[in-house]
Amino acid sequence: MIELFYIPEVILSIGVLLIIILDLYLQKHKYISFSLIQLLLVIASLYALTEVPQQNYSSYEFSEFTSLIKFLLILGAIIIFQYTYSHLNHLNSLKIEYFTISILGLVGTMVMISAYSLLMLYLGIELLSLALYALIGFNKHSGLSSEAAIKYYVLGAMSSGILLFGISLIYGFTGSINYFDIADQIRNINSNSVQYLGIIFGIIFITASLCFKFGAAPFHIWVPDIYQGSLISTTILLSTLPKIAVFIVFLKLYFIPFMALEYVWSDILIFIGIASIIIGSIFALTQENIKRLLAYSAISNIGFIILAMALVSNDGLHASLYYTIVYSFTALASFGVVTHITSNSHGIEDISDLAGLSKTHPYYAILILITMLSSAGIPPLIGFHAKLMVIQALINNSYILLSIIVVLMTVVSAYYYLRVIKTVYFEERENLISTYTSSNILLSINVILLLGLGIFPFILFDTTNFLVNLLTVISI
């Protein structure tokens, strides 16, 4: 048991408690608290990499796979925090509580990842969701922020209810909440037995709820509003960490307990994936608000992830994992750039706020260019390789028609990315654009990696390949 002390979750939880207390004494010197937080994260990430407890807890998984994912999550958090710190500092609304709540949410994502029982999963999701409710509503003086928060709260709670309903069905008809036992039960079930439909219904409820958390169509409906309403730093958080976590939950749920019913859920997920891609692409076309735009872009990206995963094949799995990481990376970069820019002394809201950026801040213009092109899937940027892998997986599994729809939607979606570039580069309007440089280097590295990994995709490719191998070892 003492060994468990060293897992990053524990370190983070205890660290957060300490920082909450310390912060009370460091009101004037917030940067100290912030540095402590970052230090805490770094330590946790190191532990995530080095320590893999051998001792297993039946409802909590420790493995190289989860450790690596946790490492990635913490890494993402470090980057996000850095952006957030600069952003909030710039807007004079820095509060250390923002980070402590975020860290608790981060712990939530870790719990989700490691969860090996439905109860643990539920707790993880709730931990994350509660943190997100608070973070979305964090901008207390903004009506939009609180509107977004209450919307997310109501819908999120509803989806938790749906999740619980599904869990209760699964629990009732398999007799267990442990993934392994459930998998065992489902494997031995035949389609004539009483439990069969109950389990399928349970899976549907859980799928609906998870798709809601993921932001996949038609459960995506909250995404644009919430992205728009919250602080842009929250938007980055929303569009990266929870997505990775939910994706891993998807992987673990569907490929371990529900694997035997693969023929049931894979069709549903393919439908959801395609719907997300189409809706994400088409709705985004006429958006004016950049956060809404990126929200719809996120929806369509989620569609890609789900679609690849729903193929239930090794390359599909690999593609979805690769896509998830690439997507998070791109989202970090694209939102990251936006956090670094203020227009007319506000954060960037509308696309038109970016007009003329290339004249005043060519450097940032290039960053936006790269991120947008990467999102659009234009080679040689990393976004292209991700889309390539998904399409390849589709074609390998003989979904030719789907792949055509997908690429056509890629073309449609390229339009709105180009619109952003167009505004940045080709339009000349005087905006009082200012930028800040505190986390500039990190951002640059972030963006340059989009290009660098595009030219040398095998680095990331090998990593994800390793991860997928780990995962298949677990699930089989």
Binding site: Y122, L130, E147, L164
Partner: protein, 101 residues
Amino acid sequence: MIPISYYLILSTIIFTLSIAGIFLNRKNILVLLMSLELMFLSVNFNLITLGNYLGDLTGQVFVFFVLTVVAAESAIGLALLIVLFRNKKTIDVDDLSELKG
């Protein structure tokens, strides 16, 4: 002797009632929150009943955690409600459509 399905049917009815409550509600967010409470209540019914059916305590343990979480959730929800009220001077559902499109 109460057949297991009775409890399940009851919980389903309450569950659907609470869902209907969410989208039929034209009044204020507070009632929405109450509907959500009802929803969790119905799920708890399910869990306890099915736990009993399985002869397994896990269902009750689950309910225990759900109760805990929902309590915390309500706290946050009410806090958000207050913030919303401060900003908009209203908690009418119909007034919450600034974010759209």
